[in-house]
């Protein structure tokens, strides 16, 4: 499958006279194949928006290469801009124009036929409110308008930066359906988000970023499989047998956490080995369930942003790859 979006070794350093430099992107890589819905995940301040801005030519990178639809950007941006629809960060529009005027002006600038305006207004559900000034819109309605503006070009690649922000549950579901429909029609969708449930539901593949570097990527199930911790829950026929089982399993090198009616095992490669081990001791398993990891726990593990009781995690305290692997504020901080 051809790559629709390719980023290699992208660097962006923000310089501030007062506070030194900050590496917002520190050799970031990303690849999105055609026809996919791709999730772009990362904690706040990890560099998602910076990546998308750089890709779209709004900010100048300090190094690395990027390509969109097979063309090197930013040089070829004028060629590909007509095929890339994007919203970056929170949607912003001139507040005194109506939604229809806003879209019609964009359509005019981009030489898109005017009928397309009505089509996208219908698609995002703003048809009946399109004559009202954007100033009077709620956040979710502005978000819908932003998506409409990105869809206006009928793009091959759709890039949405946190599109679920401000949407109501119904809106999120509609957006999900819309994105699936678009992907089925052949559009490639890149979706930055921190709403992991959403990503897991609709994305084919993901890239996870932390402190300006990629920490994981690939199809969603592969990422989950790679990072599943091998957790297994077992129950025995007799609850009284649990201590014996614990002892046996611990001796076999498996980490065991006891619970009143079941045991949680960690680091199990093959669940079958557990059954055999216990059967040898005449303990019979009534339930053995590999615990499916979800994207959220993988995300928290990879970016090291899981909450720790009694600690207030600061935004830059997340996983830095290629370094010590320890979470800490040292990497990428101001004045580094």
């Amino acid at each position: 499958m051809p790559a629709v979006l390719e980023i290699e070794g992208l660097r962006k350093t923000y310089k501030s006279r007062r506070r030194g430099t900050r590496n917002a992107l520190d050799g970031f890589d990303m690849r999105v194949d055609a026809g996919q819905v791709h999730g772009f995940l990362g904690p706040n301040g990890s560099g998602k928006t910076t990546t998308l801005r750089t890709l779209l030519g709004l900010i100048r990178p300090d190094g690395g290469r990027m390509a969109l639809l097979g063309h090197e950007v930013p040089d070829a941006l004028p060629t590909v801009a007509g095929q890339v629809g994007a919203i970056v960060e929170s949607p912003q529009f001139f507040p005194h124009f109506t939604a229809r005027d806003t879209l019609s002006l964009l359509a005019g600038a981009g030489e898109v036929p005017a009928v397309r305006v009505d089509e996208v207004l219908e698609l995002v559900g703003l048809r009946d409110r399109s004559g009202e000034r954007v100033k009077t819109y709620s956040l979710g309605m502005k978000q819908r308008l932003a998506v409409a503006s990105a869809l206006l070009k009928n793009p091959k690649l759709l890039i949405l930066d946190e599109p679920a922000n401000g949407l109501d549950p119904g809106g999120i579901r509609e957006m999900r359906t819309l994105m699936r429909t678009l992907a089925e029609s052949g559009m490639t969708v890149v979706l930055s988000s921190h709403i992991l449930g959403e990503i897991q539901l609709i994305c084919d593949s993901v890239t996870i970023i932390s402190l300006g570097r990629r920490v994981a990527f690939g199809p969603v199930d592969e990422v989950l499989a790679q990072h599943s911790s091998g957790a297994v829950r077992i129950r025995l026929e007799a609850v009284s047998d649990l201590p014996v089982a614990t002892e046996a399993l611990t001796q076999a090198g498996i980490r065991v956490t006891g619970h009143p009616d079941h045991l949680m095992l960690a680091g199990v490669d093959k669940p079958a080995s557990v059954t055999r081990l216990l059967a040898e001791k005449n303990l019979y398993v009534s339930e053995l369930a590999p615990i499916a990891v979800d994207l959220e726990s993988v995300f928290l593990e990879l970016t090291a942003t899981a909450p720790v009781p009694g600690q207030h995690r600061q935004v830059d305290e997340s996983m830095k790859v290629g370094g010590t692997g320890q979470p800490g504020p040292a990497g990428g901080g101001w004045g580094a």
């Binding site: 709004l58 900010i59 941006l77 801009a81 005019g108 600038a109």
Partner: protein, 338 residues
């Protein structure tokens, strides 16, 4: 081309543009109406009336000087004329000769097209230049501050093309208002002159001079519009341009003016921008320095003078536009947009 037309549409859709234009045109109309009502046509009636008033004035002068002379003589005989209130020779107290009191002084003001139309082009250009400046600043400033510019750049990634097309659309729009307004202005004052003055003695030379002044006025409007646009684009906010100009005018110009006059610098006005705008419109502004008195043969004081010409102004205007617009374009090319 589509971008240009779109930007023109955006410009005309904006309420600020509409209200500002309307306001500017209303002020211009008010000026014409005001001039209309404060001028009168001079006919036989007005001349006779002025003649009568001059006569009256002369009579008054005669009466007054006779009174004074009588008082003078009285004081002399009484021997109290030592305080210098009266001249030694009472006969020098005479009324001015009749012909020194001109009937012209008593004529109501009248609008002589040939003499005055030129001057009316100064407020015309000034008002429209102000309108152009704020519209230009708000047109691009609001785009920057509301994120509209970023949206547009996602569609048209060539930044300089986008900015220059916006500027071209703005100047076209301003021109589309200024030119008809100039025609109406001319027609308005022609009517004023017709009904409240005279349209006589219009030679082709006069016409040409009016045309040139008009063209210079339009250029001034376009230059100020461009500067407003460029400043707001540089500061990425409408308020930046307006604030910048207020700062320059208040601190830079009034402050500078006060400072220069305190330091009694010669020709202090030569440091002030409005002088150059005025010189641009009137071709020359002659500054006078009354401290440097070139005594004439008769002992009269002639101040030293300095001419500011429209050529000097044109250099200043060009340099201003090139520097400010150049900076705006450079910033557009180089700076990150977030």
């Amino acid at each position: 081309m589509s971008l240009f037309r779109t930007e023109l549409r955006r410009l005309s859709k904006r309420r600020f543009t509409r209200y500002m234009t309307l306001l500017g045109l209303l002020v211009l109309a008010a000026v014409v109406v005001g001039v209309f009502f404060t001028n009168q046509k001079i006919g036989a009636d007005q001349l006779a009336q002025a003649e009568r008033q001059a006569d009256q004035q002369y009579q008054e002068q005669v009466r007054w000087s006779e009174q004074e002379r009588a008082a003078c003589e009285q004081a002399k005989t009484a021997g109290t004329a030592t305080d210098g209130r009266y001249p030694p020779d009472c006969s020098v107290i005479t009324p001015p000769p009749r012909e020194e009191i001109k009937a012209d002084w008593f004529l109501p003001s009248t609008f002589d097209f040939k003499e005055t139309f030129d001057e009316t082009l100064i407020p015309f250009a000034a008002i429209l230049a102000l309108v152009g400046f704020v519209i230009g600043a708000s047109f691009v400033g609001a785009e920057w501050s509301t994120g509209g510019m970023m949206n547009l750049l996602l569609w048209r990634p060539k930044r300089l093309t986008v900015l220059l097309t916006k500027l071209a659309a703005l100047l076209t729009g301003i021109l589309a208002v200024t030119l008809p307004a100039a025609v109406l202005w001319f027609a308005g004052f022609w009517a004023v002159a017709n009904f409240r003055g005279s349209t006589e003695k219009m030679t082709s030379g006069v016409w040409q001079s009016f045309m040139l002044t008009g063209v210079r006025g339009v250029v001034l409007v376009l230059v100020l519009t461009t500067i407003g646009f460029a400043l707001a684009s540089l500061g990425r906010h409408t308020a930046m341009a307006l604030g910048g100009v207020v700062a320059v005018m208040v601190v830079g110009q009034f402050g500078l003016g006060i400072l220069l006059s305190m330091a009694s610098v010669r020709f202090a006005e030569a440091w002030l921008l409005p002088t150059y705008a005025l010189a641009w419109m009137t071709k020359t502004v002659t500054l006078q320095d009354w401290n440097a008195c070139n005594a004439t043969y008769y002992g009269e004081c002639k101040p030293a003078t300095m001419d500011i010409t429209w050529q000097q102004s044109s250099v200043l205007l060009s340099v201003g536009v090139v520097v400010i617009l150049g900076a705006a374009l450079w910033a557009m090319r180089r700076r990150d947009i977030s």
